[in-house]
Subunit: 358 residues, 2 copies
């Protein structure tokens, strides 16, 4: 049976991925050396298309990692001497915080109930904080933070760096990167690619911090430290053999999305999320987990079920639609639905029709 | 023009990769969750096929990383409190040593001239060494260490762990893993896959060391520490979303090689390397860099040119054969030729014929 993945990632691939893979195999793109001119052109093209799509300014580097989890680790390791500050309202924000704990960075944390947001006016961030970590879109709970709150934090604390988890919000969420120091995502969500690659977008200035940390004897990791990554990124190279296929595919997907137009993609995302929320707002036993409508994610929608969610997920799977279980403690209480640019309005309607007749 | 890659990696893909990619896309393998049963089956199958192919005992874990460089970092970080010992006779062995320096593990080093081996009888390894690091096959110089020397080191130092770089020697080199504690490779060499995934093979006992390090407060990294990786590997899962496509492909390639028979593959590798060395032993201006025939790698062959190697490489490329430049300082002095299982005897003959008529 032909199944459609409405999971929160890994999710449905763009249908074009197959074409790109065949093109690349034919042209033997995956055999080229990462030190060759051919590779630097691929790297450059991907950076240009990605920057165009997301509106990333010139004074930002693009680094490639193995996953968003590795990105979290590298960011903490390379930008925090002693103290990070974490907004935690879900499992992935908690992961970012835990990584800072594991790396012994004495992280401070402000917690909100899962499914809720923060009262940003009431939060005071200690003076000696170096990096403020936020999860713009919590994949585990379906809460999205309005970017205006994040810009306000930066305005209030221009001396501190902001690190933003945008794993499941790009390319939907419009971000003014000039007000963010570092952000990261992985490609198996909104970019509809096979998993295995993370991307860090980082302001060039931030590298000075890593240099200072190196000089002071802090452990900033080995070959993947940001100074080395920046030196290589300047030449459109990488410190070690990278996921060349991933970098190539990301460039192609960004080019495709640029051609379609990001405004159109954003509008379609909103149309689809409105359809989904409207359906579940009136559902008998499955309701949006996030009560405050202003906090509801448009890309990873989480719903609370009064019956075991396993039954819904399995019956839906039998009808050809794959959606995600809840995360962590919510595994059998929630269902999660991904709403990314490769998901067609038509397929959302089919999904809802199927749900209606389960 | 259809080019054949005889590079040392990334190199020629197995032609079957295209078929596997199409199968996986059709079956939507790259959309499955890494927490799903489907993924644990893929993980399990890959581990079984790999273990069968390389003769890895049951009491070893398979961990997946982003690259061999990352593997080096994780190994040092997770297995060395204070002191590692490094045999360095090339750039990649030096990288392993440098990573230990960057992680402040006070590494000791014994160096041999690039292109030469070690006089193992004369080397004394300090008592307080925790991990002995060796590069079984130096991709930068084309020197391979006979496994018997490595087994002897373990026999003499049963209390110390041995970490072995087998990046470009697997699956050719026959290894008795029971005499090795940890080994690592990447998939874009002898496994003829797109780059972007490293593999660590590690004795389960080694994890006790990481546990002890954690308890004593050493920095063993965050989510990718070996205790967490082992806990996940036990369940055929991974700590973060992995390169699912890479894990899937590796299993398929190992299955293919198991069907062909590893003994046959090894014999063919020797036939091809004999053809190549015989040709260059008698060449006018390009000669094997490694003078001692017992030290010559069968998988990454390095040749010294009295003319600028760039001219040879470019002219060969014009005729449809891509080979590698020299590494580091040898860039324009050497040529390097990869000899992996996907390289056909017939194509080696064509390569030599073309070289003869350049």
């Amino acid at each position: 049976m032909n199944r459609t993945y409405f999971t929160v990632g890994p999710t449905e691939l763009y249908p074009e991925i197959k074409k790109y893979a065949l093109m690349a195999t034919k042209d033997k793109i995956f055999s080229v050396s990462h030190r060759s001119k051919e590779f630097t052109i691929i790297h450059l093209q991907t950076c240009l298309e990605l920057k165009k799509l997301l509106g990333i300014p010139k004074n930002y580097y693009i680094f490639f990692t193995g996953s968003a989890t590795e990105s979290m680790e590298r960011i903490i390791q390379n930008l925090v001497c002693k103290k990070s500050f974490h907004f935690v309202n879900g499992y992935f924000a908690d992961r970012f915080y835990n990584i800072a704990c594991q790396l012994k960075k004495n992280p401070q944390v402000i917690r909100a109930d899962y499914g809720s947001g923060f009262d940003f006016n009431k939060i005071s961030i200690p003076k000696d904080t170096e990096l403020i970590c936020l999860t713009q879109n919590e994949t585990s709970t379906g809460v999205a933070i309005d970017m205006k709150h994040i810009y306000n934090i930066k305005k209030k604390h221009p001396d501190k760096m902001i690190a933003l988890d945008i794993v499941t919000s790009v390319p939907y969420t419009k971000i003014d990167f000039s007000k963010i120091d570092v952000a990261f995502f992985s490609v198996q969500k909104g970019f509809g690619m096979p998993a295995g690659m993370g991307v860090i977008v980082i302001k060039k200035e931030c590298i000075e911090k890593t240099k200072m940390m190196q000089e002071k004897g802090f452990n900033v990791g080995a070959y993947f430290n940001f100074v080395a990554q920046a030196q290589n990124a300047e030449k459109h190279q990488t410190v070690a053999t990278p996921n060349i296929a991933g970098i190539y595919m990301l460039g192609k997907i960004c080019k495709l999305l640029n051609e379609r137009g990001i405004d159109k993609i954003r509008k379609e995302t909103e149309i689809k999320s409105a359809l989904l929320y409207r359906f579940f707002d009136e559902h008998r036993y499955v309701r949006p987990f996030v009560k405050d409508k202003d906090l509801r994610s448009k890309t990873t929608l989480v719903f609370d079920s009064i019956i075991d969610s396993d039954a819904i997920i399995k019956r839906l799977s039998d009808k050809g639609f794959v959606i995600s279980y809840g995360y962590g403690d919510y595994k059998n209480k929630h269902i999660r639905i991904g709403n990314f640019p490769m998901h067609k309005i038509n397929d959302v309607e089919k999904l809802l029709h199927t749900l209606n007749n389960l």
